[in-house]
């Protein structure tokens, strides 16, 4: 599904007056493609996630799915938050089933699908475990499985691996690619990690500081499926460096509009 944000502005009221989180932002994610968003803290990345997830309405501008404008939650959008946000009183399987249960669609077929998704994210044996019995990485995998249970055509992920240790992050990066190659939703992936962005994406979008705008749209033409070898390749380093240079203290990105 084609996700497109046009001329989006979002302003928050705060104690000190309105804060412009996003200003005249344009962003498009092609069907079955993986787009990452990199940006400094406070640039409005989470605001972006909330917009696409339907938690927030833009002050101006529009969000469309396959050309049809929309605000509010949609069945076609799967969301993975920074925290796993699992219900602690439900098992991993029941957590994955939650979106379907809330729609009254949890039957035997749904259970099978949830089990398959848990297999897919590598949690075959943890079906009946509770969140407090799972590690952080495992909880994020459950969250990922849950975001896929309605077979979304758009997946938006807000730094889902940022609370994990470095090694688990790398593993999860590989897992996510594997899962994505299986289903191929359009993905909007927010991250702080340049390596993650380059490894996973077809395009990397760089956002400026507040108010957030897209200041670079870099196509990542590395062959798929990408492996650990890809991580070590010269092309990978070249792309990473190009992006890294944008984050230097003296770069134009840190100047925000008056």
């Amino acid at each position: 599904m084609l996700l497109s944000l046009e001329d989006i502005s979002v302003a928050y009221p705060t104690r000190k007056g309105p804060v412009q989180a996003l200003e005249r932002l344009d962003l498009m994610v092609q069907p079955a493609s993986f787009a990452s968003v990199l940006g400094p803290s406070g640039c409005g990345k989470s605001t972006l996630v909330k917009l696409v997830a339907g938690l927030l309405k833009p002050t101006t501008g529009s969000i469309s799915f396959d050309g049809v404008a929309s605000t509010g939650a949609r069945d076609e959008v799967g969301v993975a938050f920074q925290q796993a946000a699992l219900l602690p009183w439900k098992s991993a399987l029941d957590n994955v089933l939650l979106p379907l249960r809330l729609k009254g669609q949890s039957n035997a077929a749904a259970r099978e699908q949830a089990e398959r998704l848990l297999d897919l994210v590598g949690l075959k044996g943890s079906r009946d475990s509770f969140p407090h019995e799972l590690s952080g990485g495992m909880q994020q995998r459950v969250s990922l499985a849950r975001s896929l249970v309605r077979d979304p055509s758009v997946l938006v992920m807000d730094e889902p691996f940022s609370a994990l240790d470095a090694m688990t992050r790398e593993n999860m990066m590989m897992e996510l690619q594997r899962v994505w190659l299986d289903k191929r939703p359009s993905v909007l992936f927010i991250t702080h990690s340049i390596a993650e962005a380059v490894f996973l994406s077809d395009r990397v979008l760089v956002m400026s500081g507040r108010p957030g705008r897209v200041i670079m749209d870099r196509t990542i033409d590395l062959p798929r499926p990408r492996t650990l070898d890809t991580l070590a390749s010269p092309k990978f380093a070249e792309l990473s460096n190009e992006l890294r240079n944008l984050f230097r203290p003296d770069s134009p990105m840190h100047a925000s509009a008056a």
Partner: protein, 256 residues
């Protein structure tokens, strides 16, 4: 620690208490008209519960009134606490009223309740409900209000109605806090019932204590007091056990 050992340790304070009690009464030669020792009290309890059984009717009356008032208080507190926690306008309107009501000691309005509702079980049940309402209400309110924003966001992205979010998210999240409120409320409920029985003087454990103390039948009074304490303790234990089973995702069982 083995469960036998921890069980014995739990028993120890009670055993020590009995020994100290016995020691004081014997050592200071306190007359049993003033304060009977544990052996005498134990004999009276045996008489009252097993061989003669004259205490059962009173205990049962207290238990019944307390349970009915407690159930009523729980239902009211759960409903009002949930509604006020979910709706900010209603909260602004009604929370101050609840605080105002709470400021008046319920025990002080007991005679008024008797006047309004009559000299029967209705008054007892009502006062008990009033007195145990607040802790359960607060537990419910805080529990529902403290539902993590990320979980509420999750339910919004899944297009769940306010009621569904309450039922599947806020209420289970609040259950620990609610049960904690219910534990406190149980103690209050028993107090409310006993006080009403003091005032009304027609039956129940409160009546028993008041009546037998006035008649200088201190043994019966102390025996009744002990039995009331056991009733309160067992009720509290029951609720704690329910809490252990229900709130399995928190507490010492956690790992990982």
């Amino acid at each position: 620690m083995s469960s036998l050992r921890s069980f014995l340790l739990k028993l120890l304070p009670f055993v020590l208490l009995l020994l100290v009690w016995h020691g004081l009464v014997e050592g200071l030669r306190i007359p049993s008209r003033l304060m009977p020792g544990p052996i005498e009290a134990g004999q009276r309890i045996y008489l009252g519960l097993i061989s003669d059984g004259d205490l059962w009717a009173h205990l049962w009356q207290t238990l019944r009134s307390t349970l009915m008032g407690y159930a009523l208080g729980c239902v009211l507190a759960l409903v009002i606490g949930s509604v006020l926690a979910m709706n900010r306008v209603l909260e602004l309107l009604f929370y101050p009223l609840i605080l105002l009501m709470q400021a008046v000691p319920k025990v002080a309005i007991a005679p008024l309740v008797l006047l309004w509702l009559g000299f029967d079980a209705r008054s007892i049940v009502t006062l008990v409900a009033l007195i145990c309402f607040f802790p359960i209400f607060v537990g419910t309110f805080i529990g529902v209000r403290s539902t993590p924003e990320v979980l509420r966001d999750l339910f919004r992205t899944l297009d769940a109605s306010g009621f569904k979010t309450f039922l599947h998210c806020s209420l289970p999240h609040a259950s620990g806090s609610i049960i904690a409120g219910m534990q406190v409320g149980w103690g209050f409920a028993l107090v409310g019932c006993v006080v009403m029985e003091f005032i009304m003087g027609i039956g129940g454990a409160g009546f028993l204590i008041d009546n037998s103390a006035n008649a200088l039948d201190t043994v019966t009074a102390v025996a009744s007091m002990v039995l009331l304490g056991v009733m309160g303790y067992l009720g509290g234990m029951l609720i704690a056990a329910v809490k252990q089973r229900m709130i399995f995702w928190e507490g010492p069982a956690r790992h990982g």
